[in-house]
């Protein structure tokens, strides 16, 4: 190893050693690859079920049980929004008629994207907004979570026009909605997301609430 001139002396030995290392590494890769494939098979059904439950949970927070008799998780529609992004819309129906829809909306907060779920009734009134994921500062920006404050609940029952479109902003920007002490950017991001969600509904109302 330490004197270079011994290396060319035994090319065959070196080749076979390299081959041996390759085989060892390959053997371990194959073995653990099989183990992982088997585990994946074993868990795939459960993981799928959990993901569905999660979605169901977040949907049930923004679509009240009383307005539907179907399962909104499986009654979906894909619609492109103004920025050409595909939005999955979950529909709540009662006796076949669409009574409300829910979809994910996104805003930019202080520390990255804020993901929310918004429910809106067929008449355009908000059924509810909930934060699904965010990276805002604990203790300041996280008051947008339902369990940390009731700020997010104040939107329920409002619609585009009540208040008027130009007042769907935080107070600092001349709107109707409170920001909270020490955090303006987070509520502003949420407001932008809700506003875009309302606009999306207005632009696609016929498609979202029309029949099948």
């Amino acid at each position: 190893m330490n004197s270079p001139d011994t290396i060319p002396a035994e090319p065959a030995a070196i080749q076979s050693r390299t081959l041996m290392h390759g085989l060892i590494l390959g053997g371990f890769c194959l073995g653990f690859g099989i183990v992982l494939a088997v585990t994946d098979r074993l868990t795939i059904a459960d993981i799928g079920a959990r993901a569905l439950e999660d979605r169901q949970n977040s949907l049930s927070q923004v679509i009240p049980d009383s307005i539907h008799d179907n399962n909104p998780v499986t009654d979906t529609l894909v619609v492109k929004n103004a920025r050409d992004k595909e939005i999955t819309v979950y529909r709540a129906r009662k006796e076949g008629r669409v009574t409300g829809v829910a979809y994910e909306i996104y805003g930019t907060g202080y520390a990255g994207e804020i993901k929310l779920m918004m429910g809106i009734a067929a008449d355009g009134k908000l059924l509810g907004v909930r934060v699904l994921a965010h990276k805002e500062t604990p203790g300041l920006g996280d008051k947008i979570e339902e369990k940390k404050g009731d700020w997010i609940l104040r939107f329920t029952g409002l619609s585009l026009g009540d208040p008027p479109a130009e007042r769907w902003k935080v107070k600092k920007d001349g709107g109707d909605f409170d920001q909270f002490a020490g955090a303006t950017i987070t509520p502003r991001g949420v407001m932008v997301a809700i506003r875009s969600g309302l606009d999306f509904f207005a632009a696609n109302k016929a498609k979202l609430t029309g029949g099948s």
């Binding site: 290392h21 060892i24 590494l25 371990f28 183990v35 459960d46 993981i47 959990r50 203790g139 300041l140």
Partner: protein, 224 residues
């Protein structure tokens, strides 16, 4: 041999503690310790990975050549992490929602790799399993301690959401130490991680120093 195991356990839990003595695994030790519960959960997941990978490396130690040992170790750790990740997602979903993002980071934690190289590569299977397990438990204790201090100072609670992780029976250990809004926000932000980890390292060293001094003054220690 029994004595040997005692040393392994002592090393893992205190003398050679991964975080407080070797200063390894600093990334999860600071990133995941915004609460005692998070630290505990992350520690347990790491302990499971460490025990399994130490055992496997020790079993295969005579088949792994010097030249390819590092890729094989990383392969084994990565495989164990993926197993834990999939199993937790499927069967411990509540815990997974809290820790899920950080499980893959166990691969980049240098503590498992350090133990494989320093211990499991040269030791029989059973002692390696014990070493991996107790190093992992020591890691869990360290993370829980850092998390507890940060949580008490930062949010005023202790073991908040523990019932989410351990089951409804543990609702009783969720404590409120300080009134809400009394917390020092910085403690749950990244700087708090550095401050608290540093201070706890100091505390551990002081305790060691004191123990060492007492032994010397008592004249009970044998010169090695």
């Amino acid at each position: 041999m029994a004595n040997d195991y005692k040393t392994i356990v002592r090393d893992g839990l205190w003398d050679n503690n991964g975080v407080f003595s070797m200063l390894l695994g600093m990334c999860p030790a600071m990133a995941m310790t915004t609460s005692a519960t998070n630290g505990f959960g992350m520690g347990l997941a790491t302990a499971a990975v460490m025990a399994a990978s130490s055992y496997l490396v020790a079993v295969f130690r005579n088949r792994i050549t010097q030249e390819v040992r590092i890729p094989v170790y990383i392969l084994i750790v990565a495989a164990m992490v993926t197993l834990v990740d999939l199993a937790m997602n499927a069967w411990m979903h509540e815990l997974y929602k809290v820790l899920g993002l950080f499980i893959p980071l166990i691969v980049s934690n240098c503590l498992p790799l350090a133990r494989l190289e320093a211990f499991a590569a040269k030791s029989p299977a059973l002692p390696s399993l014990v070493d991996g397990l107790f190093m992992g438990i020591g890691f869990t204790i360290a993370l829980t301690a850092i998390g507890a201090v940060r949580e008490i100072l930062g949010s005023g609670t202790l073991f908040a959401d523990a019932s989410l992780l351990l089951g409804p029976a543990f609702k009783t250990i969720e404590l409120r130490i300080l009134p809400a809004d009394m917390g020092v926000l910085m403690m749950i932000l990244p700087p708090g991680g550095f401050l608290v980890t540093g201070l706890l390292v100091v505390v551990k060293r002081l305790l060691d120093l004191r123990a060492g001094k007492e032994i010397q003054m008592g004249g009970a220690h044998s010169v090695a």
